[in-house]
Amino acid sequence: MIRSVLLAAWPLIALGAGTSVAAAELGHPRSGQAVAIVEEVSGVAVGIERLDLLREGEIVDLGEDGRIVLGFLQSCWQDSVWRGQVTVGAQQSRVDGGSLIRRRVECDPTGNLETATGKASGRRKSAESGAPGSPEPDIVLFGRSPIVLLPGPGQTLVIERLDGTAKPVRNEATGDRLDLADHGVVLATNGLYRAAAGGAVVVFRIDLLAESGRTPAAGRLLVLR
């Protein structure tokens, strides 16, 4: 069971023109900021579901048969925990009474952080979509099927290829998050894309060695908020 309130609105990774970004200082997430994404969860953990974002200090009680996989946004650690109690840290979890496998996955935390604070030049370029030439990507994704967090529920996500010809991908979301792996969307490796929804825009590149499917979430997370 989760002991603290789950994030309703999380300020860490907000992206896109016109989006108000909480003043997350470049650096480690402050207390209260989202630090990890739930990649998988099963068992008795109540009130927590896949693709939720967790804050530092939150505690998840997995009981005797629960399991959770957390992807940490800044450190790129992926913690798989069985049983026991998980305390979410800024960069990794602390586990009491359970089993843990922790591994560093491929992700672009700087891209997330820079876009979150509006310091990335790529973001400005991406916002100025009419600028000539290919813009620099705001972030590199290490999976070919992004997880997209939308500005709000029920919005349409449009992904266009910027360095080649391909039919834009359109997805209508019912909630505020989409795992494109669940929708069969597989983008091209080394492709440069622009994703837009609800007025938010982000330019991203798919890594040359990215794989399709449910690869680690921290490596394919795209935030459009």
Binding site: G84, A90, L100, I101, R104, V105, E106, P109, T110, L209
Partner: protein
């Protein structure tokens, strides 16, 4: 002296009578061994697989090493046979199966009640597959048949030949009809076998191992080496006792020709044919112009020779490699490879000091605490080691007076003691064992006793010539001396150690191993309490036998640092002459709880990586690591840590089910998109980490195209609130260091984030906040650099504290920033991390007994260990003080570092500075700036070299 060394190489050919018979099971108590990564004694065997990818060497140092040609022997796999404190485990030979999968070794191995053993190892895992027992005598030489089906063993003392089926190790053939040692045998491609015996005969067997011919060696001497030509038409024979190489018809052993050995005055003990049979290579006991050349004959051994100046000691073995290169091994412990053009491509030499001819160089202070010696033969360029200062220095002008050994005194008339078998006292022979050679002599200051060093022992004699005691020497006792206080014998041995023995009974109290690099050293007591320089505590470790049927384990003393790193004990050892007393006093003074657990109860687990294999090429960063963890005690596994180039990439922890003594598992990890070294380290509940298991992965995929960011935190305090702590340049050092780093923006790093915390801003709270920022800000792709300048101090237990600006000397150990806090910050940095430590500005501020003098070596060793993976640059070693000088504008260390970063460390003009280059520059520059009074120290994990700075 070279002759003596050569004779050592040939000891395999000679009978010796010394020591006790070995019990059936090897001793269970851990045994201290030196381990520098190369052989520490004569290389006695050399073999290559058919593809020339892998080379095996055996040594008197009781190890077999497997060298990969792909990495030029950079990371040999070490196979350890069961050993004891006597001769068990001394290896005479090694064979490698043609497919490179099996290694067989033997020598003084598996001694039982009149029987001996061979050991068979799996080359990939390093495990001993089996012991082959019941051999009637020791094996001198081994060889696999070219098809790998048979293994032939030549035995000592007339016990002849045994051929094994390599499939099931059953005996395929025997020939006991030999009357002396068989030093060499060889298979032809068609299965014929030739062997030579020191009884002067050469025997030829057919493929069914029936002896077809036996002849007396041409010239009537002792044949030492036999090698079939690749086409099987000729056999080349080298002779031990004559400069002679004969070419015999391989059908009937008829003498066909002899190679040109003009200019050579001693025998040939190594031969090898080139793959095409055009060239014959030979080497042996001779030397020319101070070197030991390899002779090469063209025309199948019949044309004029050419000498290749390859080695600097007797070449004992030669093996031709598939690509046309040639591997060679020497009696001096070196092993190297010539390329196809006969140039030395690479060589791995012993890392020990060469104490030959240093009887007059070895000098000792009154109390025995300072010794002077040289790393080089004949005593050129002497250095000093000071136990009190915990330093090894080239400065031999300051410090206490040192005395050379007394040897020529009227009261005791000893003659003929230099390199003879018949030293005399008053004209009467001193009692030595048969074949034992006297090498060194020291008369005690009271002139009532003397000490003789021999090739086997150190012997204490009364002035009457009666032996009072003798102790086994770990190598030839090249030099002995007696401290002027008359309490210690100080002896320099052939294994590169200097040992302090009690003059009363010869009991060892302390040993020192100074590494040949002149920087690293370690000193230890018989129980393993030690002190070490930065990087020194991996030079010695514990060999742990696991019975007769298994390979031994090895744990460096650094594994047990928290318990056995005891400068306080070492300081007391020469005063107490008794280790137990020194420990008790040390415990009492430092408030430590006495450690009652035996070392065997603390042994960490042993980790192996089952796959991928070492040197595997990958083109995708996700890799499945299969591993095995074997427990050494009943303590369950607490965690398994996986690192790439020293930084964490995965961890398996909390509640691991050990599943018994051995656990296997696998984990998918992401590795860096570059060549990398992956390490696994297991930890049990008692917190002592395993030795890392490593594999090298070769990146064959596209490179990552994004540059990292660099985060630098520079802390420097000059303006302490307490006037007595005031420094001149520490804050400026921090600023200047950060400035040098910031110049990198846009070059190697896409962004540099600089933070300096200095002087009044460097309160304890501010430093802690900055360390937290440093720990949590860099991402896994980034670089973190921490620089600290100012005052540091150790508490009486040797725990370090960095002194913040407002903290007084009295409160430093309660309000300072503890080493544990600093380590916690460094270990949490996600990316690569570097630590520059310049906090030894004045240990004298604290002095004793308030706090012990700052000992930075432990910090360097701890952070630079595989578990922490931090690259550490420290301003000084041991108890040295760091110097600053207004004329320099910086402290000596920072000045050298900044110079190096600004380009002076780019020795090759490549436009970048690596960490290794910076280390080399700073190591050279700081002693020059300070007149040898300050020596920086570096600690770094495996594969830690990194292009830190780009100059353009």
């Amino acid at each position: 002296m070279r002759v003596l060394r050569t004779l050592g190489a040939l000891a395999v050919l000679l009978a010796t009578a010394f020591g006790q018979a070995w019990a059936r099971e090897p001793p269970t108590a851990p045994i201290l061994r030196i381990e520098t990564g190369t052989h520490g004694a004569d290389v006695t065997g050399l073999a290559a697989d058919a593809d020339g990818r892998l080379i095996a060497t055996s040594s008197y140092d009781r190890t077999v090493r497997l060298w990969s040609l792909a990495d030029r022997g950079a990371r040999p796999k070490i196979l350890r046979v069961p050993i004891d404190l006597d001769r068990e485990g001394i290896l005479y030979t090694v064979a490698l199966s043609p497919d490179g999968r099996r290694v067989v070794t033997a020598g003084w191995t598996g001694e039982g009640d009149g029987d001996w053993s061979l050991y068979v190892f799996d080359a990939a895992s390093g495990r001993m597959e089996r012991r082959i027992p019941d051999l009637p005598h020791r094996v001198v030489t081994l060889a696999f048949s070219k098809d790998g089906r048979y293994l032939a063993a030549g035995l000592k003392a007339g016990h002849g030949l045994v051929v094994f089926n390599a499939e099931d190790w059953s005996v395929a053939a025997r020939d006991a009809d030999q009357s002396d040692d068989i030093p060499s045998l060889d298979f032809a491609g068609d299965g014929r076998l030739v062997l030579v015996s020191l009884d002067g005969t050469i025997s030829l067997y057919d493929a069914a191992f029936r002896r077809r011919h036996r002849i007396a060696a041409p010239g009537g001497g002792k044949p030492a080496i036999a090698r079939f030509a690749p086409d099987g038409g000729l056999v080349a024979i080298g002779h031990l006792d004559a400069p002679r190489v004969d070419l015999l018809d391989a059908g009937d052993l008829r003498l066909v020709d002899s190679a040109d050995t003009r200019g050579i005055d001693k025998g040939f003990i190594a031969l090898a044919w080139s793959r095409d049979g055009n060239f014959l290579y030979g080497a042996g006991l001779y030397e020319r112009g101070g070197r030991n050349p390899i002779r090469r004959w063209g025309g199948g051994g019949r044309k004029q020779p050419r000498d290749i100046p390859a080695a600097t000691s007797t070449v004992t073995h030669l093996v031709v490699l598939k690509d046309g290169g040639l591997a060679f091994a020497t009696a001096g412990g070196a092993f190297g490879v010539l390329d196809a053009q006969d140039r030395v491509a690479w060589e791995r030499r012993p890392q020990a000091a060469d104490f030959r001819d240093q009887q007059d160089t070895l000098r000792v202070s009154e109390d025995g605490g300072t010794v002077e010696f040289s790393f080089e033969r004949f005593g050129t360029a002497p250095v000093r080691f000071s136990l009190a200062e915990k330093s090894l220095t080239v400065d031999v002008t300051s410090g206490p007076r040192l005395d050379a050994a007394l040897s020529d005194v009227p009261e005791i008339d000893i003659a003929d003691w230099r390199h003879t078998k018949r030293p005399t006292l008053g004209g009467r022979p001193l009692p030595l064992k048969p074949h034992e050679t006297s090498i060194s002599l020291a008369v005690a200051p009271g002139r009532k006793s003397f000490v003789l060093g021999t090739d086997w022992r150190v012997i204490g004699f009364g002035a009457d010539g009666v032996e009072r005691w003798s102790v086994r020497a770990p190598g030839m006792a090249w030099a002995v001396n007696v401290a002027p206080n008359g309490r210690f014998v100080v002896a320099a041995f052939g294994d590169g150690t200097i040992r302090w023995l009690r003059l009363d009974d010869g009991g060892e109290t302390l040993a020192l191993y100074p590494h040949a690099d002149g920087r690293r050293w370690v000193a230890w007591t018989p129980s393993g309490y030690y002190i070490a320089s930065a990087g020194g505590d991996t030079l010695v470790g514990w060999h742990v036998n696991r019975g007769r049927e298994s390979q031994g384990d090895f744990f460096t003393v650094s594994r047990f640092r928290d318990i056995y790193y005891r400068p306080d004990v070492i300081e007391k050892i020469l005063g107490t002459l008794d280790e137990d007393k020194a420990i008790r006093r040390g415990d009492a003074e430092t408030g430590r709880t006495p450690e009652r657990r035996p070392l065997a109860a603390l042994l960490p687990p042993v980790v192996s990586i089952l796959s991928p294999a070492d040197g595997t090429s990958i083109a995708f960063p996700q890799v499945t690591i299969e591993y095995e963890v074997r427990l050494s005690t009943n303590e369950p596994i607490k965690a398994i840590h996986i690192r790439a180039d020293g930084r964490p990439i995965a961890e398996i922890g909390h509640g691991i089910d050990s599943g018994g003594a051995t656990t296997r598992g696998q984990i998918d990890v992401y590795v860096p998109r570059r060549d990398s070294v992956i390490e696994l380290i297991a930890e049990t509940g008692h917190g002592i980490p395993s030795e890392p298991a490593t594999v090298r992965l070769i990146w064959d995929g596209p490179a990552m195209d994004t540059k990292p960011s660099l985060f630098v935190l520079a802390l420097g305090i000059s303006a302490y609130r307490s006037p007595e702590l005031k420094l001149q340049l520490a804050a400026k050092d921090a600023e200047d260091f950060a400035d040098a780093i910031v110049r990198q923006e846009g070059r190697a790093y896409r962004r540099i984030v600089r933070r300096t915390v200095t002087d009044a801003g460097a309160t304890a709270a501010a430093v802690r906040e900055a360390l937290e920022w440093f720990a949590t800000t860099p991402t896994s792709r980034d670089i973190g650099i921490l620089f600290m300048a100012g005052h540091g101090v150790d508490d009486p237990q040797g725990r370090y504290f960095y002194v913040p600006q407002e903290v007084s000397p009295e409160d430093a150990m309660t309000q300072g920033i503890s080493y544990l806090e600093i380590r916690r910050s460094l270990s949490r940095v996600a990316g690569r991390v570097f630590f520059f430590l310049d906090t030894c500005h004045s240990g004298a501020v604290w002095g004793r007994p308030t706090g012990s003098a700052l000992d930075v070596s432990r910090i360097v060793n701890d952070l630079g260990s595989p578990e922490e993976g931090v690259v550490v640059f420290a301003s000084s070693t041991g108890r040295q003080v760091s110097f600053e000088n207004v004329e320099w504008g910086n402290g000596a260390f920072t000045k050298a570092v900044v110079e190096g970063l600004n380009g002076k460390a780019d020795f090759f003009g490549n436009g970048y500075v690596t960490t290794a280059q910076l280390d080399a520059y700073v190591s050279d520059r700081v002693p020059k700036l300070t007149g040898g009074r300050q020596t920086p120290a570096t600690g770094k994990p495996v594969n830690a070299d990194f292009k830190l700075i780009h100059l353009n």
